[in-house]
């Protein structure tokens, strides 16, 4: 019984008016405590109150709390009077509505009151007996039940309505007078009902939680402040490997090692003292070994906030812990690996490319600390020239074309120095495929590159040295019969090389028999070479070359660990020259002995003869013995000695001298001429003059003969040419004459008389031409044979001109001739007619080749003791090509003017002959279009001529 119920009971005893009431109260108190269920209590209360109230209705409602809704669990006491029926008819709605409906009263909600009277208890009354019920409700009840007064009391537990009692009556006096006892009964009933409710509630709740706990896969247990297990579930029992009963009542120290138990108790104690949740993690010994659990300790407080128990729940974290441990170990391992890796490893952000991490090696290679790198990207440390390449690769990587790349590139270290590194870059993508982390591994190969370069250079140098060696060199690998190296000179010399030893044997020694012999010999020497520290000469080999020739080589072999260095010394030429020398000596001896040339060797200093070949002995008429006692001065005439000595001293300075046609003396004193070629040579340690004598006496004669023959041939050729020309020149006018005559002879044509005369005249002209031609030819012939007889007499120039004056004026009828003779011209010893012929011919030419009325100027005067006559015109002149041939026979310039008397082509040639026969010269100056000037000279016969030949018989 609660406090309120007790105080109500005391009040009731003080106010009791009759024993009956007291008896009822006592009975109620005894009886009510014996009841077990809330409905029994409700029924009992209804029965007791009904007895007190007498008339009217008494009802009790009980609410179902567990449903958390205000559903009516039971209504007792109203069943018999139709209240329920009426109420049921009227509701049928959600119980939750009841409350709202009561506050907002409508007839439809009337039932709410009847079943939901508890709502009247708003305001938190525990038990409240009142009658100031809303008027409207009362009116409704009055109409329905014919009652006027409603008394209601509610049961509230922990602020929640759990039930209520309503008394509806038309006679309130019965209620008022028994108010104390009614209150007492109601209070007792409320107390009991609440207790029953609570107990039931707890029972249900406990049942629920117990199942939860028992079935939980995680250990759940409760402990008291001493560390004693007060409750454990099956999971904990399994964890400990004990039964539940074996655990309850025992302490931490019964299951854990002392240190662990102390540690756990400390947390538990803390929870008890502070009321705060605690978490502890640690090993738990179990049947399958130790497992790890994390345990949450939740302190439980009573009403006074005092902790009286702790609920603990544990979670097995063994797997997680192991996994974490494994992860930790693995991470540490990886970290250690990366940090100690011999290559530089760095990571960079996939988006902004900034470095995230860098291991020690990376930092060392690049020269930046990891911290410094974090604010940089690879672009800052890449050599500018290599940047685009890196970017291209990175772009390919990001686009997914490649999954990683490897690049040799240059980096700029912090200190500015360059390094060469190989970088391998890969990309980690996030789950969405976006670049997340770039991993770069770099390997500094600067040193390696340098070494490689050095090695390469050194190898190249070595190769160059070997290649530049004039001796072919090969490197034979003894292990695998490969030939690792051939110097360039080998290829040059042999024209082929082979990469294996057998291959080389086949190439170099194509004859199988010789090859076998070579291999045998080779093997013998190899043993020798192996034992020797130096190169061993393995003898001579005849090596076949690509071009089919054979080279004789000495092969030197030396060992270099498992290689054989073979050097080929080409002695082909040496061998050949040895052979040649032998042959040569023989040959020269023969040459010397048998030579047709005289060979005479004299000491360059003493001039004494040392050797002479038979030819020179014959030439000079001395025996060898005689000559070796003589010297150079004995074999040349006195007047040549000086020249010979000069030649000797010249030879001391040079290697060779040559004297042509040097006179020499025979033993018999006769003279001959020789071409002597002197060569300087050292014989028996002395400088000698080796003289080669060629007797040119015979050759001179032969040469003279040859010249004669050539001259004769020339003459003969000139003669036949002349003959052909003469023939042509004669036939041409003859052909015309014959043609004209035959024209007239032919009878099929009747020519007019004029025509006939014309033909005859033409024939006549041609006949005259033929006459002239024959005359000129005769003259020419005489000139050639030197038979032109000059009728030379002493004439004055004037006399010559006088003799031809008539002809000249006839020739120059159509021209302006001018003759200028210088006065006091000395007499000349000439053939007047011939000289006149020359002048006439030249004037004729001038007239022929100059236009009518043109001037022809003839001048004559003395110059340097000669008569100089010139005939100048202002005619058509001649080109230089014509001038050269002008005086040749039968040469006629083609510009012969038609209709004029044609020349014979011999005129100028005859002029030239005549002038030259007089010892003079003839020439021409001419310019095309400007005219020509022919000149000739005749030497004056001087005093001698003048004295020998007195002045001409003619007049002066």
């Amino acid at each position: 019984m609660n406090k309120r119920a007790k105080s109500s009971a005391l009040n009731a005893s003080r106010n009791l008016e009759n024993l009956d009431q007291l008896q009822i109260l006592a009975h109620t108190s005894v009886r009510i405590n014996q009841l077990e269920t809330s409905t029994e209590v409700a029924d009992f209360v209804c029965q007791q109150l009904k007895a007190i109230v007498g008339k009217g209705y008494v009802g009790v409602s009980l609410l179902d709390q567990t449903a958390q809704t205000l559903s009516v669990k039971a209504l007792r006491g109203f069943e018999d009077n139709g209240l329920i029926d009426a109420g049921l008819r009227l509701t049928g709605t959600d119980p939750r509505k009841l409350r709202v409906s009561v506050n907002d009263f409508t007839p439809a909600d009337l039932v709410i009151f009847k079943s939901g009277h508890l709502e009247l208890l708003d305001g938190g009354l525990h038990t409240l007996f009142f009658r100031n019920y809303p008027r409207v409700v009362c009116l409704a009840l009055e109409n329905l039940l014919n009652v006027r007064f409603v008394y209601a009391m509610g049961f509230v537990h922990h602020g929640r309505h759990v039930g209520g009692i309503a008394i509806l009556t038309d006679t309130p006096a019965a209620v008022e007078s028994n108010r104390i006892i009614i209150e007492s009964i109601v209070a007792q009933a409320a107390s009991i009902i609440i207790r029953i409710f609570t107990e039931e509630e707890l029972r249900q709740s406990e049942q629920k939680y117990r199942i939860l706990l028992e079935e939980s896969p995680d250990p759940v247990f409760s402990m008291n402040s001493e560390g004693r297990y007060t409750y454990v579930n099956q999971a904990l029992a399994r964890a400990f490997g004990q039964s539940v009963d074996n655990i309850i009542g025992k302490t931490l120290w019964d299951f854990f090692p002392e240190a662990e138990a102390d540690k756990r108790f400390a947390s538990l104690d803390q929870a008890f003292k502070t009321g705060q949740k605690m978490t502890i993690e640690g090993p738990v010994p179990g049947p399958d070994g130790t497992r790890y659990y994390v345990t949450t300790i939740s302190p439980i407080t009573d009403n006074q906030k005092k902790v009286f128990s702790a609920i603990c729940s544990s979670k097995d974290i063994t797997e997680r812990k192991l996994a974490a441990e494994a992860l930790r170990v693995s991470e540490e391992l990886l970290k250690a690996t990366i940090n100690n890796a011999p290559i530089g490893i760095a990571t960079a952000d996939g988006i902004d490319k900034r470095f995230l991490t860098a291991n020690a090696e990376f930092c060392q290679i690049i020269g930046y600390s990891e911290q410094e790198l974090r604010s940089q990207t690879f672009k800052n440390i890449t050599h500018p020239e290599d940047l685009s390449d890196s970017l291209d690769h990175l772009a390919a990587l990001e686009s997914g074309i490649i999954s990683s790349f490897s690049l040799e590139k240059r980096y700029v270290k912090k200190d500015g120095t360059l390094i060469v590194a190989i970088v391998r870059v890969s990309l980690i993508r996030d789950p969405e495929g976006k670049p997340s982390v770039i991993i770069a591994e770099i390997e500094n190969i600067t040193e390696r590159k340098r070494l490689e370069e050095e090695l390469r250079r050194s190898e190249a140098q070595l190769r160059l040295i070997l290649d530049s060696s004039p001796f072919p060199i090969a490197l034979f690998d003894i292990q695998d019969n490969h030939i690792d190296f051939w110097s360039q000179s080998a290829l040059t010399l042999f024209g082929h090389t082979a990469s294996t030893t057998p291959g080389w044997y086949r190439l170099a020694y194509p004859d199988p028999e010789y090859r076998r012999a070579v291999i045998d010999r080779w093997k013998r020497y190899l043993e020798k070479a192996r034992l020797s520290a130096r190169a061993v000469n393995t003898g001579e080999y005849r090596i076949a070359c690509a071009d089919g020739s054979v080279r004789v080589c000495e092969l030197y072999v030396s060992f270099l660990t498992d290689h054989l260095i073979v050097t080929f010394n080409d002695i082909t030429e040496r061998k050949q020259s040895e052979k040649n020398l032998q042959e040569s000596e023989q040959r020269y001896r023969t040459l010397f002995e048998k030579a047709g040339e005289g060979i005479l060797i004299a000491d360059l200093e003493t001039l004494k003869f040392k050797y002479a070949n038979p030819a020179v002995c014959d030439l000079l008429g001395y025996s060898l013995q005689e000559l070796t006692k003589m010297s150079v001065i004995n074999i040349h005439p006195e007047n040549s000695i000086e020249h010979v000595l000069a030649e000797f001293s010249a030879l001391a300075q040079r290697d060779m001298t040559r004297s042509l046609g040097l006179p020499c003396l025979r033993k018999d004193g006769t003279l001959f001429y020789a071409d002597i070629t002197s060569v300087k040579a050292v014989i028996d340690g002395k400088e000698c003059n080796i003289g080669f004598f060629i007797d040119i006496t015979g050759r001179r004669q032969a040469e003279a003969k040859l010249v004669e023959i050539a001259a004769l041939e020339q003459v003969s050729q000139a003669k036949s040419e002349l003959l052909a020309n003469v023939s042509h020149e004669l036939r041409t006018p003859l052909a015309s004459i014959k043609g004209f005559i035959e024209t007239l002879i032919e009878t099929d044509v009747n020519w007019s008389r004029e025509q006939q005369m014309d033909f005859l005249k033409s024939a006549n002209i041609e006949a005259d031409r033929l006459t002239l031609l024959i005359r000129d030819l005769l003259d020419m012939s005489r000139l050639d044979s030197g038979q032109l007889l000059l009728d030379k007499h002493s004439y004055l120039v004037q006399e010559i001109f006088d003799s031809i004056a008539g002809i000249l004026s006839t020739i120059t009828l159509k021209h302006k001739m001018q003759i200028e003779l210088l006065p006091d011209l000395a007499p000349l010893d000439v053939d007047k007619v011939r000289i006149g012929q020359v002048i006439t011919n030249l004037v004729e030419n001038a007239a022929k080749f100059s236009p009518e009325g043109g001037p022809i100027v003839i001048q004559a005067g003395f110059n340097n003791g000669s008569l100089l006559v010139s005939i100048a015109d202002q005619g058509i002149g001649m080109p230089s090509a014509v001038l050269a041939k002008l005086f040749d026979r039968f040469y006629q310039a083609k510009m012969v003017v038609d209709g004029k008397t044609r020349g014979t082509g011999l005129g100028l040639a005859i002029c030239k002959g005549i002038v030259e026969a007089h010892g003079g010269k003839i020439w021409v100056d001419s310019q095309e279009g400007r005219g020509s000037k022919f000149c000739f000279t005749i030497p004056v016969a001087k005093i001698q001529g003048a004295s020998d030949y007195p002045v001409s018989h003619k007049n002066k």
């Binding site: 052909a724 023939s727 042509h728 020149e729 036939r731 041409t732 006018p733 003859l734 052909a735 015309s736 004459i737 014959k738 043609g739 004209f740 035959e742 024209t743 002879i745 032919e746 099929d748 044509v749 020519w751 025509q755 033909f759 033409s762 002209i765 041609e766 006629q892 310039a893 083609k894 038609d898 209709g899 044609r902």
Partner: protein, 118 residues
């Protein structure tokens, strides 16, 4: 019918002087030239039906003229020569001439030769 055109080439005007009237009197048209170059030009221009060509001419001789004419024309060519060289006849054949007459020649022979070639 048009009378045949004959080109007579000789550097000696007296030869032309009797050949021309003789040919004309026998119904031929006659053109004359004094050297090889002139002959070639006239041949190209007038396309004669026959050519009488002297061998010995200054500048370009008859052989050369004949060779050049033969490059474009198959006009009958009768060579005239005052030389009695042993190989002239052969040379004439080689350079494409059809006949050969040695000066001095019988007029009737020339006329017959011309007639037969036309």
């Amino acid at each position: 019918m048009k009378s045949p055109l004959i080109l007579v080439v000789d550097d000696d005007p007296s030869i032309l002087k009797f050949i021309q009237p003789n040919l004309e009197a026998r119904g031929y048209q006659v053109l004359t030239a004094a050297n090889g170059e002139e002959a070639i030009i006239l041949t190209q221009k007038e396309k004669p039906d026959l050519i009488l060509l002297d061998i010995m001419m200054p500048e370009m001789d008859g052989f050369e003229a004949c060779r050049r004419i033969r490059k474009g024309f198959d006009t009958p060519i009768i060579m005239l020569s005052a030389r009695e060289g042993e190989n002239d006849q052969e040379k004439c054949r080689v350079c494409g001439a059809n006949d050969y007459l040695t000066k001095p020649f019988v007029l009737r022979e020339l006329l017959n030769m011309v007639k037969s070639r036309l």
